[in-house]
């Protein structure tokens, strides 16, 4: 499986990046064929963190399988849980109380901000800037503190369950959210000053890693990476779920399709998420935080599919039920898997040094790819 470092008959150099490499943000192994400094081909080798979540879920009940999904895309675990809770609710036709819906959206958007902020720091670090990483973690810590208070965990929250949310929000929740909104409004211009307008950053990213609209759709690229190419693919907008239809927010679109526009889309999305939080923070309805559900959940025979917009793109949960307490087959259509498949196409003809920038702009989370 692992190709030796060496040269091919045509004189091309084959190098391995990863599985242990800081630029791959996890255990991803890329076999790169180089002609001089120019990339001819990239072959990803996956599976270093494959835990066969789909197979495991076949023997887990509809309450248990949600916990495995927090471990897929650990930076948007709330949104993964949301998708799974929704698919079970769809099958059992559970009406979720309005309070739970609002809490869910707020948690999702906090997660999205935390994920994009962390990505911003990591992206700058990939390109040689150490400082932004610390700025990013400062804001992310505040969000993690909110999660800790309400959900009891900082990373794998498992807070959204079929019927609503696990527990009511902490009394400090609204105050904390307002604090983080204020903090972000103060710090986001600082982010722009540090990175967005930085001449070196622009030179490294503008016009690099072009992905056309047609190719983005054909490769199944979704999320901010596709919206930077002009693909209208925000599930929250086009297939609204869980209360997003009542909110006022914009789908961020750019048409350049290069690394810099993928960066810009995420930076604007942080602001859109803040605006969603502002709309909701003082309007959390009173009432139950969880609907009454049976102790043992049994989905009727049939097939159920839900799509949600995670911080990385479209997550699909496909459940085939035979009427039992466990799913017969479950498939997670993870955004990272499809986004990665476009990497080879995007990097061909580019320089090896730019590969890190292009890969960084796709925002890959490896456990999300391998599942």
């Amino acid at each position: 499986m692992i190709e030796e470092i060496g040269t091919t008959e045509q004189g091309d150099l084959i190098i391995n990046v990863g599985p242990q490499h800081p630029a791959t943000h996890g255990v991803l192994h890329l076999v790169i064929t180089l002609n001089g400094e120019t990339i001819k081909k990239i072959e990803p080798h996956l599976g270093y963190i494959h835990r066969s979540i789909e197979k495991m879920c076949e023997s887990l009940t509809y309450r248990q399988f949600i916990y495995t999904t927090s471990r897929m895309d650990y930076l948007s675990s709330h949104i993964n849980n949301h998708a799974c809770a929704m698919v079970v609710e769809k099958g059992l036709q559970i009406e979720v109380p309005p309070r739970a819906l609002v809490i869910r959206i707020m948690m999702d958007e906090l997660t999205r901000i935390a994920s994009h902020v962390l990505w911003w720091g990591a992206m700058a670090m990939d390109l040689g800037g150490m400082t932004p990483y610390f700025h990013a973690f400062r804001e992310r810590e505040l969000i993690n503190d909110i999660m800790e208070e309400t959900c009891g965990a900082r990373l794998t929250m498992n807070y959204q369950v079929p019927g609503g949310v696990m527990a009511d929000i902490h009394p400090n929740f609204q105050r904390r959210v307002k604090e983080i909104i204020k903090q972000l409004y103060k710090k986001l211009p600082e982010y722009d000053e540090l990175v967005t307008g930085n001449v070196i950053f622009k030179a490294r990213t503008q016009g690099i890693g072009y992905l056309s609209k047609e190719d983005a759709v054909s490769y199944g690229v979704s999320g901010p990476s596709a919206r930077a190419s002009g693909v209208e693919c925000d599930i929250r907008k086009h297939y609204p779920y869980g209360g997003y239809e009542n909110l006022n927010f914009k789908e961020v679109l750019h048409t350049e399709g290069d690394t810099y526009s993928r960066y810009l889309v995420r930076m604007i999305e942080i602001r859109e998420s803040i605006s969603i939080l502002e709309q909701l923070v003082d309007n959390i309805p009173e009432g139950d935080f969880q609907a009454k559900t049976k102790a043992v959940l049994k989905l009727p025979k049939g097939e159920f599919y839900t799509r949600v917009e995670t911080a990385r793109g479209e997550l699909g949960v496909f459940i085939v039920s035979e009427g039992g307490t466990t799913p017969y087959r479950i498939k997670f259509r993870s955004p990272g898997f499809s986004n990665l498949s476009a990497l080879d196409h995007m990097t061909r003809g580019q320089k090896i040094g730019d590969m890190v920038a292009i890969m960084g702009s796709l925002d890959l989370v490896i456990p999300d790819i391998d599942r």
């Binding site: 199944g220 799509r307 479209e314």
Partner: protein, 151 residues
């Protein structure tokens, strides 16, 4: 196009399609031999224009395998599910990675986890599992005494 129009339109293109009711989106069963022709029509006919293959997977029903293709159109915003029954001993179906590029990775995943052979696939190798892996882990009769994948 709404669901009824889609069903009428598709049954004119491919008369032997079997519609299946009950799902959120229109479901069709297609013969594996007819799949390439149907895929071409789904992708390139202007009023269908299914340009986004958002999910490609397989289900093991113990007696046979079922390929499932979830398609969506970014222009018309309609969705469709195409299924195809394959026999369990020599499952074979035409690859669609030349029509939807995303299928290349998804088909490689189905190939190693279910053992479906995709004809005319540009690069049919294992993607997630090691090259020397024996068996198809997502099939229902797969047993692995060493790695605990059944809980």
């Amino acid at each position: 196009m709404n669901n009824e129009e889609l069903i009428t339109q598709l049954t004119t293109i491919q008369p032997n399609l079997l519609p299946e009711t009950g799902g959120e989106w229109p479901n069709f069963f297609v013969e594996a031999a007819d799949w390439p022709k149907l895929a071409q029509a789904l992708r390139f006919k202007d009023d269908l224009f299914f340009d986004y293959l958002f999910c490609l997977t397989c289900i093991d029903w113990k007696t046979h395998l079922t390929m499932v293709y979830h398609l969506s159109s970014t222009r018309h915003r309609h969705n469709i599910v195409i299924k195809s029954k394959l026999n369990r001993e020599t499952p074979e179906i035409e690859a669609v990675s030349d029509i939807w590029r995303t299928a290349e990775f998804h088909e490689r995943e189905v190939y190693e986890l279910f053992g479906v052979n995709f004809l005319n696939h540009p690069d049919l190798r294992k993607l997630i599992l090691p090259d020397d892996w024996v068996g198809y882990p997502l099939r229902k009769d797969y047993e692995d005494p060493i790695n605990m994948i059944k809980l």
